[in-house]
Amino acid sequence: MTPVVILFAALVLMLLTGVVPAPGGPVSVVFLSPVFLAIAGALGVVLVLQCRKAVASLDIGSAIAHGGVALILAGAAVTYAFGVRTEIVAPVGPGNVIREVPERRAAFEGEAVPYAALGFGFVVTNFVVEFHDPRYVVYVQRKQPDGGSDYRYLRKVPVPRAGPVDLGNGERVEIHDLRDPATGEWKEQHVTASGLILQRSSTASRYSAAIRFTGAGDEVQESEIVMNRPARFDGWRFYLMDYDGGQGRHVVLSVRRDPGRPLVMAGMWMAIAGVFVMCFRRSRPSAAGAGEGSAA
């Protein structure tokens, strides 16, 4: 048990180090450091040993849980060694075919990263963004003792389908006052008669990009990428990460090829199932049964 406790303590300490802001970011400084990788490796060995022990004693829950976590670590190692994760700013338009992507994400702005050929081409043919109904954030201006002023947040107010907007302090604003008379669009800012400042806040409700892949032999696949629904082609996965504020000129895509992913996914489901089996089976009170279960 003592080595396991030391391993837990070392892991927690490394993770705590990783949440301290560091130049270069915690991922490269801490989580890819030889010390952390050695601890993760040692954890993997302990998990495999415990899994074997649990199999020998027919402790199925423990075997599945420990084996699952070991599989996650193994999958992550495969990803680290052979996976590709990169981002690309893709122009929107039928003429902008992309056939190569950066080999990895740039570690800092302006870093020159070599490009790798995909073996196929893709083009983002269209991009659409939709918004929720706007809300207005209400601020009040406060005079400062030094003669200046600042703004204090009061509340967010929704814009109703009909009727006036209730500002929450008994004051109301008519909907047409929040619309630009020239364009009919919602105003960015409105100041009420009493001096309250209403700042528009718009939340995107959905954004989607249409993408066309052209593989070898003129194979064509049309896909739609939405947040939480990536597109897949020829072993690569494409994720819609960001867009240019609604101008529709380009989108930011995350592009992945991850041979370790199936191991990680299987490991996650095994860990969930195993931990539920371990923790929800009936047991004697632990004071009487120190050997109960099979903690690593």
């Binding site: 048990m1 003592t2 396991v4 406790v5 837990f8 303590a9 892991l11 927690v12 993770l15 705590l16 990783g18 949440v19 915690p26 991922v27 989580f31 992550a76 994760r85 109904d133 809300r135 509340r155 967010k156 107010v157 929704p158 929450g168 939340t203 995107a204 409700s205 959905r206 954004y207 947040m227 939480n228 629904r229 990536p230 996965r237 994720y239 990460m241 995350s254 592009v255 992945r256 991850d258 992913r261 990680v264 996914m265 996650m268 860990a271 969930i272 931990v275 539920f276 371990m278 923790c279 929800f280 009170p285 632990s286 004071a287 120190a290 050997g291 109960e292 279960g293 903690a295 690593a296």
Partner: protein, 262 residues
């Protein structure tokens, strides 16, 4: 609307506080009735939040703080009927007060709008998994603090010798599977959303620290030499949980985080 929300929160909070007072005074029937009343009012509030938002009411801190006490009702029933721990009622009432008191004093964003990244079928199970685990961890925390506050001498170093120590371990034992589900469903969701199941974001790292400390606590129970440190590990785990749940969101660094909405 704001007045109705404040009224419901106040009534629910008052019911749980009164329930706690009754249960500590040994008036079990009155205490349990008041707890049921607190849960009912809180349930009405959660339904109202859902109707106003038009979405599952789990989208912001106010929603989560009001939904959290609802998880305690089925968990109390589980602990009472499966493990014969009906005597935990006062601890459960105390644990219900904490999130509601937090919700009472915070900015209550009732008109929440669901952003694209949260439009996933993982959203409800992921948040619910964490809510259940946090509720159980809160019960374990209250039990441990109550034991450490009243026990002196050698008995203090032996949590297994006190029913509250054993009940705290049992609560953590039920919490860990839900926490594991919350952690890993978050990773599965991140894989769908961003193509990366783990990105060492501060929220993710703190949630892993919390999970490791709770798992470490359960492992420590299996060895009499380490069991006496179990209380310390559990208190540290709860502190890490609070950092994951609340403090990380206040860090300026989170402005760039993938979890800035959480």
């Amino acid at each position: 609307m704001a007045m109705t929300v404040t009224l419901c929160l106040g009534m629910s909070l008052a019911a749980f506080a009164a329930a706690f007072a009754c249960l500590v005074a040994g008036k079990e029937r009155a205490g349990l009735l008041l707890m049921a009343a607190g849960w009912s009012v809180d349930g009405v509030l959660v339904v109202m939040n859902g109707l106003v938002a038009g979405e599952p009411p789990l989208g912001n801190m106010y929603h989560v703080m009001t939904a959290l006490p609802l998880c305690f009702a089925p968990l109390y029933c589980l602990l009472r009927w499966r493990d014969g721990q009906g005597w935990l009622h006062s601890h459960v009432a105390a644990a219900c007060i904490l999130p509601l008191a937090g919700a009472f004093f915070m900015d209550r964003d009732v008109h929440w709008q669901r952003m694209p990244v949260l439009q996933s079928w993982w959203f409800v199970p992921h948040v619910l998994g964490y809510l259940v685990s946090y509720a159980l961890a809160a019960i374990a925390f209250v039990l441990t603090v109550s034991r450490l506050a009243t026990v002196r001498g050698r008995a203090r170093r032996d949590p297994a010798g006190d029913p509250r120590g054993e009940a705290a371990r049992q609560a953590v034992r039920y919490a860990v599977p839900f926490m594991t589900f919350g952690l890993l469903s978050g990773a599965l969701w991140a894989d769908d959303a961003w193509g990366v199941y783990w990105s060492w974001d501060p929220k993710e790292t703190w949630s892993l620290i919390t999970w490791l400390l709770y798992v470490g606590y359960l492992h420590a129970w299996h060895d009499p030499r380490w069991r006496r440190y179990g209380d310390v590990v559990q208190l540290l785990a709860f502190a890490a949980l609070m950092v994951t749940f609340l403090v990380v969101n206040l860090l300026p660094k989170l402005g760039k985080s993938l979890h800035s909405y959480a």
